[in-house]
């Protein structure tokens, strides 16, 4: 290896380490805290001093926490799938077809992201009630769409628009219809974009709190962020820090696994993207 390459490698090692440290330290601190309890939480610790799993045991013992995780998985997955099914064809139309009203639609879709959640709460509540979805996971799937669809549609429109003309033209000459073009030509090229927006939408739905708190009342149907907010200490005023940290660490694990699976998709786009060159 040349001297230049050495410098480059070391530089990279340093920046990557900094990124990892910055991203992971608070989470690492949460893990350390999740093993502690009592007065210990008020003493800064750089390394775990004890390895008590008491906090983990108690979050599963005191409430249907496993069920809450499953609920969140169902809600977030359904939200992502529905968002994608709605957004991919729309993105094709908005990104690759010129027609009157396009701009207006794009702006209207963006407009739904400009209201604070608390302001739409009561209207959404009425909607959920009238659909008969109150206190069901369906209520959360429907309400979360408002948060994820605009973003997914916009992001995919942009990526769809950036794909080169020639590919589509070749497909049209081969006699492919729009559905076939999307499925056979664009989808493989869009994997990095879909994986990224999908992960972001998944996490947004996973972390949603206000709708989850208001539209579901039974513990069995609750999602993870609400379940965490329900954790209390021995007293109204005590902040059960260790339990909250244990719960937060636990619910972050499924996401880490999910991202680990899907980030390969982001890489796989590389080869697909290279074809177009």
């Amino acid at each position: 290896m040349t001297r230049r390459n050495w410098v480059k490698s070391i530089l990279r090692l340093v920046t990557v380490s900094l990124i990892v440290l910055y991203s992971a330290f608070p989470f690492y601190y949460a893990i350390v805290s999740s093993f502690r309890s009592g007065t210990d939480i008020y003493k800064p610790a750089y390394f775990p001093t004890t390895f008590s799993f008491q906090n983990y045991v108690s979050i599963f013992k005191n409430q249907p926490f496993a069920q809450n995780i499953v609920n969140s998985l169902i809600v977030a997955s359904a939200v992502v799938i529905v968002s994608m099914v709605l957004a991919v064809p729309a993105a094709y139309a908005l990104g690759r077809v010129k027609f009157r009203g396009r701009r207006l639609i794009l702006l209207t879709v963006l407009g739904t992201s400009m209201f604070p959640q608390i302001a739409v709460l009561s209207g959404m509540y009425q909607l959920i009630q009238s659909l008969g979805l109150y206190n069901s996971l369906g209520a959360l799937i429907v309400s979360n769409l408002m948060l994820t669809v605009p973003f997914t549609a916009w992001m995919l429109t942009i990526f769809m628009r950036e794909l080169p003309k020639e590919i589509e033209e070749a497909a049209i000459i081969d006699g492919a219809g729009p559905v076939k073009i999307i499925l056979r030509v664009f989808l493989p090229l869009l994997w990095p974009a879909m994986a990224s927006t999908g992960i972001l939408a998944f996490i947004a739905a996973w972390n949603e709190f206000l709708f989850g708190l208001t539209f579901v009342v039974s513990n069995e149907n609750r999602t993870v962020p609400v379940a965490i907010a329900l954790i209390t200490g021995t007293n109204q005023r005590e902040l059960p820090w260790g339990n909250i940290m244990a719960a937060s660490v636990t619910v972050t694990l499924p996401i880490i696994i999910l991202v680990f699976i899907f980030q390969r998709r982001i890489v796989s786009g590389l080869t697909a993207g290279a074809i177009k060159g």
Partner: protein, 421 residues
């Protein structure tokens, strides 16, 4: 024990014993986790077994700022999903229009509870909620440090300032660099309203808005009280106090880094837990008065049970409320969960006192706790409280002096009041 009770309950239902034809389901909102949920569930199930009705527990977040919007949403939508709401002491005025008058069901038993709480829960002559457990601000002090420096438990805020300064300096020069004199809740939230209310009232500065509706906060005694508190920041109270809530204060005190702490009774058992560095070195007293002619003041906190107007079974729900707030109901919670009863009698009950000895010393504090002006300001209480705490916070963080701040505050509260409360 709980299993046995549940088992009996199941058997009774199965055998059809004691279940009248018109048995109904009542849903009650309790805490979500741990001892609160256990006690609430067990007691409600016992009532269900006795009456043949069934009970559903709907757990709600303990955090007021999460719980209030949930309740509001359900009540505004006239939802019948929750029959019994567990509400904060400042909420009867805010949510009152959604609750039934409990007087027809209480048979006068509200007289057995602390009068201040019953008064707080009575709006326009209607008893909107039954007291369930109470809370009040208290002064924690380090027994060992006061002894070491020959200081008495302070009776006035000036004495507290003096003692705190003296011990803090002495401890710091002895090497304990992190020692502070006095920790309390300065975060711009309801907690600050509680603390500041105590300073003002104890100096004879009134209760922000008086029971007759008069806005009293713009006075020299109130200004003096708040200026005194502002002088603590950075001197005997760490700067972090400006953003500290109860648990942060407790953290500083419990790690042995403060002489005095203003907090709620919950901190007692935690400060005396097995791993606490200040275990057995903590004393509890009534909060100081402002000057020689001041009044020892503890702000009233705590939780009540109310029945929704939109309940399909208000009668049964009210009966369950009476069951839960009965002497036996509160006694069980006091013994098993250290929840402070709202019934004066229980503070003399030997079983309660042997389980939670410090209740005895707190009786005076609870009996004389002073309610925030939520009854008179009704559904505009939060507006008044936020205006008050923001004015106080700006004084504490050194942005203005108390006198002009309170002058402006009076104008703001006047605007909030409009033509009448």
């Amino acid at each position: 024990m709980r299993k046995v009770i549940l088992g009996i309950a199941g058997f009774l239902t199965f055998a059809g014993l004691g279940s009248p034809a018109n048995a109904v389901e009542v849903s009650v909102s309790c805490g979500a986790f741990g001892v609160d949920l256990q006690l609430c569930t067990a007691a409600s199930q016992r009532w269900a077994a006795q009456t043949g009705n069934t009970v559903q527990i709907v757990s709600a977040p303990v955090n007021d700022s999460d719980r209030l919007p949930l309740y509001q949403q359900m009540l505004a939508a006239h939802s019948s999903d929750i029959d019994i709401y567990q509400i904060d002491v400042i909420w009867p005025g805010i949510l009152g229009s959604h609750f039934i008058d409990l007087k027809p069901y209480s048979n006068g038993t509200e007289k057995d509870h602390f009068p201040a709480i019953v008064k707080n829960n009575t709006v326009n002559g209607q008893l909107l909620a039954m007291p369930w457990y109470t809370d009040a601000g208290v002064l924690y002090y380090r027994k060992d440090l006061l002894e070491k420096y020959g200081a008495a438990v302070p009776q006035t805020w000036d004495e507290l300032t003096e003692t705190a300064t003296k011990i803090q300096e002495a401890e710091r020069s002895a090497g304990n660099k992190q020692m502070w004199g006095f920790v309390w809740q300065g975060k711009a939230d309801e907690g600050l309203t509680c603390d500041a209310f105590e300073w003002v009232f104890s100096h004879g500065g009134g209760s922000i808005v008086e029971p007759d509706g008069r806005i009293s906060i713009n006075n020299a005694k109130a200004a003096k009280a708040i200026d005194l508190a502002a002088s603590w920041i950075g001197k005997i109270s760490p700067t972090s106090t400006l953003n500290d809530a109860e648990e942060e204060s407790r953290g500083i005190f419990q790690t042995g880094n403060a002489v005095f702490m203003r907090n709620w009774p919950y901190a007692w058992s935690l400060a005396n837990s097995a791993d606490s560095p200040v275990r057995d070195r903590v004393g509890v007293a009534i909060l100081p008065q402002g000057g020689a002619n001041g009044i020892h003041t503890a702000v009233l906190g705590g939780w009540q049970l109310a029945v929704s107007k939109y309940s399909k079974h208000p009668k049964e729900a009210a009966e369950l409320v009476m069951y839960l707030t009965s002497s036996d109901g509160e006694k069980e919670r006091a013994i098993k969960g250290s929840y402070n009863p709202t019934r004066p009698d229980l503070y003399k009950d030997p079983e309660v006192l042997s389980a939670v000895p410090f209740f005895g010393t707190l009786y005076e504090t609870f009996a004389n706790a002073e309610a925030r002006p939520s009854g008179v300001t009704k559904d505009r209480y939060n507006q008044v409280s936020v205006a008050f705490l923001q004015a106080v916070h700006s004084v504490l963080s050194g942005q203005e002096a108390a006198a002009p701040a309170l002058n402006n505050l009076e104008t703001s509260i006047n605007d909030i009041q409009g033509s009448s409360w």
